[in-house]
């Protein structure tokens, strides 16, 4: 129908089209970041939409090399400020300086993984300390390199790698715990 084409062609300006073309391909990554930094999927979807609206408002000034990193940074900032507003989090418990290896001698993480579902992984990830969780979300879920994650988080690359490592160790332990709890119940 001519109506639809007319609207798409003439009423959405070039800026809008250029933005959607550049930004929409990254919606999966942005959603994963939103989903794992905000409480539930409704909030995550609101967060993604707000991220894109903010990004669009700032698109004219965007000159960075990576649109994905730019979107994810906006998303993280929004998630943080929303988190502060809701003030729902108690103080995060930090790991001791020496990390704990993942599993005990009797229960290996591979066994726990065999029947773990997505909800359990999501629940366990939510219990990983925030700095580590963010590093994991950026690298393992959004697919950023350590250097990109470092830039987004504003910390050295080695710090990101260390946080990802510790976070994964913590996650593996939590998954074993989930598995044990499920067996008991």
């Amino acid at each position: 129908m001519p109506g639809a084409n007319r609207i798409e062609a003439s009423q959405m300006d070039d800026n809008g089209r250029a933005f959607l073309e550049a930004a929409l391909p990254h919606i999966d990554a942005v959603y994963r970041v939103a989903r794992n930094t905000s409480g539930d999927h409704h909030r995550a979807e609101d967060l993604v939409q707000e991220t894109y609206l903010r990004a669009f408002a700032a698109f004219a000034g965007h000159r960075g090399p990576s649109t994905k990193a730019w979107l994810v940074t906006i998303c993280l900032n929004l998630a943080r400020s929303e988190g502060r507003r809701r003030a729902r989090r108690v103080v995060e418990v930090s790991l001791p300086e020496a990390y704990e290896p993942a599993a005990s001698e009797v229960s290996v993480p591979e066994a726990a993984l065999a029947n773990i579902d997505r909800a359990s992984v999501s629940r366990a990830l939510a219990r990983v300390p925030e700095e580590q969780r963010l590093a994991i979300v950026l690298m393992d879920l959004a697919g950023h390199s350590a250097s990109e994650a470092a830039e987004i988080l504003g910390c050295p690359r080695n710090t990101v790698l260390s946080r990802v490592f510790r976070g994964r160790q913590r996650l593996a332990s939590l998954l074993v715990e989930e598995d044990i709890n499920r067996d008991v119940s």
């Binding site: 639809a4 959603y31 707000e50 669009f56 591979e110 990830l125």
Partner: protein, 240 residues
Amino acid sequence: MTCPEEPIVAFLAGELSPEEERHFDQHLLGCEHCWRAVRGDRAARLALEQLRQPAPVGLQGRVALAVGLAATEPPAVPVVGRDRSPSFIRTAIAPHVRLAAAACLIVVAAAGGLGWLAASRSAAPEPAQVAAVVAMITPGSPPTMALRAGEHIVIGGQLLVVRAYQLEGTEEIVATSARPFHIPPTSHLLTGSSPRAWMATKGRLSMYGVNRPAGGESMFLVAAMPMAEMPQMAARLDLI
């Protein structure tokens, strides 16, 4: 025994030189601590694969619609001005209001006087008009086909056709569908179950709908006029 973290991290990141890597492989054979750390890392990465899910169906359409609205809005309309969007958007997507935020924007703008309709004289509505109708019909359900104004759009599995009319200086937006529309909880029901007519208001907008059983065409009319005049308007538009 606890080994330092750095070599394990470098090993897992694939950043050891070939010689260092051979050395670390040897170390792993005899070090339970590092071996478990490596296995834990691998297990966590495997588990995280499950969270690499794509964005939900419909989110891309919802985002495209919201951006499309921001990109098409006339600069003279202050409410949804791009430059001022942050604080406004924050209000619009307050958690207790589960409308699609883009649609909220338009409903609020519409409540301010339908200024966004001013340019419309044809039967092809603008995305903003479509979004307003979408928001009122199915709060919380983003269209799965966005920016298809004037054509068919699909919302929550329901196929709609949205049209715009102008009659004696007032704008009317009409949505029709082969399936009955969701009736807002605050509506006044006008007739019995079949066909079921209902009216409701939202801000300065009045809504008038007629739901017909499967096979018949259901209709939904939105206009900025008193609710009592809506049935007459529907009749003048040959809707009932």
